[in-house]
Structures are given as structure tokens and as C-alpha cells.
């Protein structure tokens, strides 16, 4: 489609304004200018995203889903970099259209033309809502869907509604876009049914890590065809597992990419073998938990789909450390401190499962916020199995520190201190942790950012927009 003069002018104006906004935002230290330039550009030139993405010679991979987007994209980025590609990536977890635009505009000349190496490829994380309008502007080479759990309902609506939105958006795509889907997630797997282009499924085969039935916080354990409750021969977490519908026989699809021999190594990571149709890869992960095994599988599937070499896959995965705040470790005052993001019941239960393997008594700081990025409704904490922290020594912090304290009290905890101020809560929790011991911080999204801001000010870590190349 030929661009008219007005659109061209808007595009150039958008690029210039976005640059100014980025400088301005960095100067004010309101974040690394990771979203503001894109926000400005989005309003001035609505078609800019498609214009920029079309220029990437190796195409773009979209990563979406409820949990694991940022880590999956980071793993994939490192694999593709190890494969010799030049990767464009919205690395800071700013996963709305504006975040993608900002990442791309960093490579744009004055008129919006991207200056790129020939082997460039895009890896863009988009949240489940933002991907729908983005797909109207650009058809990516493939779309990875990690999982669909309930998350921040006051913002996104019900998980069924999200799936319906994705299904409708995918139906408009041409056969050049492949869907790479988590086959262990019934709702995600159902997105592949009737899709016009290629579909590839990934999943886990680790009977030793499965439980007999889905956890109580799980949703969507219903057949997408006839809404009958699914039966599981093994459930990993949330509604992920080996499922079948007892009424219509609909079942988990054949998965081309499977994780076997999964060995969990606590917070240090995990080992696994990935069975690809042509080879088995033995992999070592430095990101912890079964949820990250799924993220690694998602990344492997995408890397394999775009033809990355096996060596690059194992090298890239092995080099990836958790994305900022996802399982970040610092040492201060002779104590080890872990910062772990919790943002919904399923993810939080996974983090608690990791802590259950640590030596008791645990020293913890739990930060609960209720800003837009956390979800205004804090009810979800009652779906999290915090009972496993009953014997822990706990400080609660953040705007909803009191709510968190009540949740933990009803979970059976007896040692709870409430300190709304996050820096103060951190100091208190750290002082209560014996020398040589470990403090575990669980924080919702803006709580995690606030904690890191404190650490940055104290020189423990760098700003998040500087942590990834």
C-alpha cells in the first residue's frame, strides 16, 4: 500500500516527538524511556507499528500469554543472538504497543526507516490484550502463546473472553504466520483448532512432577468444545497437564516439542531434555521452577521454527538468567536476598513451591500493591496457598500491606510485621534475617519495581532498562 504525503508527515513527526519524549523521560528518571516514546508515536501515527515491523528482514516473533512472556522472550532473544542474529526486542517487559514501538524507534532514522543488520529478527512481547490490535498492523512469522490464566481481572476480563479475542484475531491471519502453542494448556491448545496456517505444540512429559488433579486456583479446566470438566491423568500446575474430555473425547494434541527428564534444582534452575523431531537436546536452565521449563520450551519451539542451530539453543538458554525481578539475587550485609515476582494465583503458587524446597525457617517480605499494573483488586491473594508460609517470619509491605498481613494471619502465620513503606519494610526484614541467611521477597509488579528502585539508589543493582543489552 502506498503511503500518502500526510501519513508520511505524521510518521516523521511521530518519530521526532517520540525521540524527544524518550530523552525527556530519561532525564526525569521516570523509567528508562521504555514506554513514553511509543505512547507519543502511537497517538501521532497510528499505523507506525506495522510500518516499522515490516522492515525487519528476518520477520518478527510475537510472544503472548498470561505468565512467562518476559522470560520466554528473553530466552528466545539469547538463543537467536547465539545463532548469530541481530535481535530487536522490547526487553524491559513494557509489553503494550507503546513498548514495542519504543524498542523499534531506538533503531529508527529521522524518517522512521530502521537501520538494521541483514540478519535482523524481531522478538516482541505483547500482552494478551495488546496483541489483538498489533496483529491488525502486522502479520508476524509466528506467535508463541505461553499459557492463559486468570490475571488482573479488572483490567483484562475473563480468560474465556481473552481466548475468544485471540481466536478472532488469529482467524484474520494468513498461512505465513505459524502458531506455537502450549499443548498442555487446554485453552491455548484450542486456539490451534481450525487455524488456517501451521500449528506446532509444545509440552512437558514429567510424570514425577505431576499431581493427580488440578489445583483449586486453576481455571479453564473445561472442555472448550462442550464445557464438560476435563479429566487429567497428570496436572503440572494451574490447568496445565495431560487432559481429555470424558464426554466428547477432545484431548491434548500431539506435541512436537516435549520436555523430558526434567530435574528441578530449586531456585538455581532446572535441567531437562527437549525432544525435537530430529534430535534430543540436553539443556540446563538458570531460571527456576517448572513454569520456566515451560518458558524454555516455548522459546525452543520458536527458535526451532525459525531454524536456529541446536548449539545456539543450548547456549542461549544456558546463558539466560531470570528477567529483572523474576528471581533476582543480590547480596547485602552478609545476607542473600531473592526478589521474586508474584502477579496472580497460579504464578504465586509456583513461587511458593520453590520456597518450600528451601531451608526453614524462612524469612520473607511480601509486597502487595494495587496499582493498574498489579490489578486494583487484591482479592486474588485469597486464592494463593500462602499456608506454606505459616511458620515463616514475615514482613508485609506496599500499598496493601495490611491486606497481605490479614491473608497471612488466616494462613496461620504468627510472626507478621506490617510496614507499608517499601524501603522501610526491606530494612526491617533484612535486619530480622540472621547473618549468612536468606531473605525471600515476594512482590507484585509495581512492588517489585519499587524494591528495585530502592536497590538502584543504594547501588545494589543497575536500573532495569540498563540490565539487558
Amino acid at each position: 500500500m502506498k503511503e500518502d504525503a500526510l501519513s508520511r508527515l505524521r510518521r516523521i513527526l511521530a518519530v521526532q516527538l517520540a525521540r524527544g519524549a524518550g530523552l525527556f523521560s530519561r532525564r526525569l528518571r521516570q523509567g528508562g524511556g521504555t514506554a513514553l516514546p511509543g505512547l507519543v508515536a502511537e497517538h501521532v501515527a497510528p499505523g507506525l507499528l506495522g510500518f516499522l515491523l515490516r522492515q525487519i528482514p528476518g520477520g518478527t516473533i510475537f510472544v503472548t500469554g498470561t505468565n512467562g512472556k518476559t522470560t520466554t522472550a528473553a530466552l528466545l532473544r539469547n538463543v537467536l543472538a547465539a545463532d548469530g542474529r541481530s535481535v530487536l526486542h522490547n526487553a524491559t517487559g513494557s509489553n503494550l504497543t507503546r513498548g514495542v514501538l519504543s524498542a523499534l524507534l531506538a533503531h529508527a532514522a529521522w524518517d522512521g526507516r530502521l537501520r538494521l543488520a541483514p540478519a535482523s529478527i524481531g522478538v516482541m512481547e505483547l500482552d494478551e490484550a495488546a496483541i489483538v490490535p498489533a496483529l491488525r498492523q502486522h502479520q508476524p512469522s509466528c506467535i508463541v502463546v505461553t499459557n492463559l490464566f486468570r490475571d488482573q481481572l479488572d483490567r483484562y476480563g475473563e480468560v474465556q473472553t481473552i481466548a475468544a479475542g485471540l481466536r478472532a484475531a488469529f482467524a484474520e491471519l494468513g498461512p505465513a504466520t505459524a502458531l506455537l502453542l502450549n499443548g498442555d494448556d487446554p485453552l491455548v491448545a484450542s486456539l490451534g483448532e481450525g487455524y488456517g496456517g501451521p500449528v506446532r505444540y509444545f509440552g512437558v512429559d514429567a510424570p514425577g512432577l505431576a499431581r493427580a488433579d488440578v489445583e483449586l486456583a486453576a481455571d479453564s479446566h473445561y472442555c472448550p468444545q462442550d464445557a464438560t470438566p476435563l479429566t487429567y491423568t497428570g496436572a503440572y500446575y494451574g490447568h496445565l497437564g495431560a487432559y481429555a474430555c470424558p464426554a466428547c473425547g477432545w484431548r491434548r494434541p500431539e506435541r512436537e516439542v516435549r520436555a523430558t527428564n526434567v530435574v528441578m534444582r530449586g531456585l538455581e534452575g532446572a535441567g531437562l531434555t527437549v525432544a525435537l523431531p530430529e534430535a534430543d537436546l540436553s539443556l540446563r536452565l538458570r531460571v527456576p521452577g517448572l513454569y520456566n521449563v515451560y518458558n524454555a520450551l516455548a522459546a525452543v519451539t520458536a527458535a526451532w521454527h525459525v531454524g536456529a542451530a541446536a548449539d545456539a539453543i543450548s547456549q542461549g538458554l544456558g546463558a539466560t538468567i531470570p528477567a529483572f525481578g523474576r528471581a533476582e539475587r543480590i547480596e547485602t550485609g552478609g545476607r542473600q536476598v531473592w526478589l521474586l515476582l508474584i502477579k496472580n494465583p497460579i504464578g504465586a503458587n509456583q513461587v511458593l513451591r520453590l520456597l518450600a524446597a528451601e531451608e526453614a525457617p524462612l524469612h520473607t517480605l511480601v509486597i502487595l500493591q494495587d496499582r493498574a499494573a498489579d490489578g486494583h483488586d487484591v482479592s486474588w491473594i485469597w486464592d494463593v496457598d500462602f499456608e506454606s508460609l505459616a511458620s515463616a517470619s514475615i514482613t508485609t509491605g506496599g500499598r496493601r500491606a495490611e491486606d497481605m498481613a490479614v491473608r497471612l494471619k488466616y494462613a496461620g502465620a504468627e510472626s507478621i510485621t506490617v510496614m507499608r513503606d517499601i524501603a522501610g519494610a526491606f530494612d526491617h526484614a533484612l535486619a530480622g534475617t540472621p547473618a549468612g541467611g536468606t531473605l525471600f521477597i515476594l512482590a507484585t509488579y509495581t512492588g517489585m519495581l519499587a524494591m528495585r528502585r530502592v536497590w538502584t539508589e543504594r547501588g545494589f543493582v543497575r536500573d532495569y532498562w540498563e540490565t539487558q543489552a
Binding site: D154, L216, Y222, A227, H376, D377, S379, W382, E402, V406
Partner: protein, 242 residues
């Protein structure tokens, strides 16, 4: 002394973590040395309904609500209605509240039947309408209740139901008449999540006392140390106020 709590549809109607209400009531019994048994009541016939002292149900997603409606009206209907007429204390939240009313007419105009334990009905004003979302404060018998509401349907009461509370800030039943929730016999309906009871211990104890009075003739409950609950209550008031 023992209290039996029925948790209706713990899997089907589990969207807004209303199981916090079950956790809260069970703990407040244990802390008072009252034995407590929680029964999960999934789809299927309701057996031994007369043994239940308290019944709780939460909100679900649309599809789950459809399944629950069928089971509630067709399978559990008569046994549950008898228990309610006999004075069973029940708390129904959000989608559960809608199903405890007479019917729910969704955005497309099709009707979901309720069990009519509350003289109330719910209408969805159509696909383009806004959802009622946000922090909410109400007054119930002179005591403030705090929570979070998130519903598309608008609920309207008629005789002989009374509103549970009046809205101070937020939408409540329908955003029009200033009412929130409903009460008829010993059945309470409300849109408040949070979960509701842990942050509103006075209301939690009101339900407990009513159930214990009915079964065991108890006339008062020993007080608990509610400092944390009260501070969470006040914090929610503060945040709802801006």
C-alpha cells in the same frame, strides 16, 4: 460445638477468590475452639442439607455460571430450598448472588435461571455497557463494609427482600438506587469481593453468630484480636476515598 460450612461450587465459582470467606469463617471458629468442618459441594445432588450451618458461594466466569445454574436449579433445587426455608445461613457473592436470585438476563437477552432464594433479579444492560468495577464502601446496620466489586449485571430487589447495605462509594446493586446486596430470611447476597469477610470481621461474626444461634442457641461470641483486620478495613476505606 461444631459448625458445618458448605462451600458451594469451590471449583466452578472460584473466579474472584471468594474462598477467602470460607477460610475466614473457619479460622474464626478455630480461634474460638469451635470445631469446624468445611464440605466442598460440587455439581450433583445435595445430600444431608440439614447438617449444614452455613453455605457460601462465590463468583464465576460466564461459562461456569451456566453450568452452576443448571445444577443449582435442577439438581440441588428442592433440597437447597428446603434448607433455606428452614433458616440455613447463606452468603452468596457476585455470580453466586445472581444465581441465588430469580434470574439473570445476559447481554444477549437470554435468561439464566436462579434458585430464587432472594427476591431479586439481574439484568445485563447490553454489550456496550460499562462493568461496575472498583473499590466499594457500604453501610450495613451502621457498620461500614469495604470490598471490591466487578460485575456487568445490574441487580434489582423487590418485596420482601431488603438491601443488605447502602452504598457510600461505588456502584452496588445497579448503580442507580444506592442499594447493595440483598437479604431475605437468613440468605445474604452481595457484590463485595476482597475477600469480603476477612476485612469486615463484624459481618463475619454476624454470620457465625446467626448460624451458631440457630444450631446451638449461642447468644454471643468471645471477641478476637482483630487489630490486623481492622487496619486492613481502614486502609481499604482510605483507598476507596481517593
Amino acid at each position: 460445638m461444631k459448625l458445618v460450612i458448605g462451600h458451594l461450587y469451590p471449583r466452578l465459582m472460584n473466579m474472584y477468590a471468594d474462598r477467602g470467606n470460607v477460610i475466614c469463617l473457619a479460622q474464626r471458629c478455630r480461634w474460638r475452639d469451635i470445631a469446624v468442618e468445611v464440605r466442598s459441594l460440587g455439581p450433583g445432588p445435595l445430600v444431608n442439607a440439614a447438617e449444614l450451618d452455613l453455605l457460601l458461594v462465590g463468583g464465576g466466569q460466564d461459562r461456569e455460571q451456566l453450568l452452576a445454574s443448571r445444577d443449582l436449579v435442577e439438581t440441588k433445587g428442592p433440597a437447597l430450598r428446603d434448607a433455606i426455608e428452614d433458616g440455613l445461613v447463606a452468603l452468596a457473592v457476585c455470580g453466586g448472588y445472581q444465581l441465588f436470585g430469580e434470574y439473570y438476563r445476559d447481554a444477549s437477552g437470554s435468561e439464566l435461571r436462579g434458585i430464587a432464594a432472594l427476591p431479586a433479579y439481574t439484568l445485563h444492560p447490553g454489550a456496550g455497557s460499562h462493568r461496575c468495577i472498583g473499590n466499594i464502601v457500604t453501610v450495613w446496620e451502621g457498620t461500614k463494609l469495604v470490598g471490591f466489586e466487578n460485575h456487568g449485571g445490574r441487580t434489582y430487589l423487590h418485596e420482601p427482600a431488603a438491601a443488605l447495605a447502602t452504598v457510600v462509594s461505588g456502584f452496588g446493586n445497579n448503580g442507580e438506587d444506592g442499594t447493595e446486596g440483598a437479604r431475605w430470611r437468613n440468605v445474604y447476597g452481595t457484590y463485595l469481593h476482597g475477600s469480603l469477610l476477612p476485612k469486615n470481621p463484624a459481618f463475619a461474626d454476624h454470620l457465625l453468630l446467626q448460624a451458631l444461634q440457630r444450631r446451638h442457641g449461642v447468644s454471643s461470641l468471645p471477641p478476637l484480636d482483630d487489630d490486623l483486620e481492622t487496619s486492613a478495613h481502614h486502609r481499604a476505606l482510605e483507598i476507596a476515598g481517593g
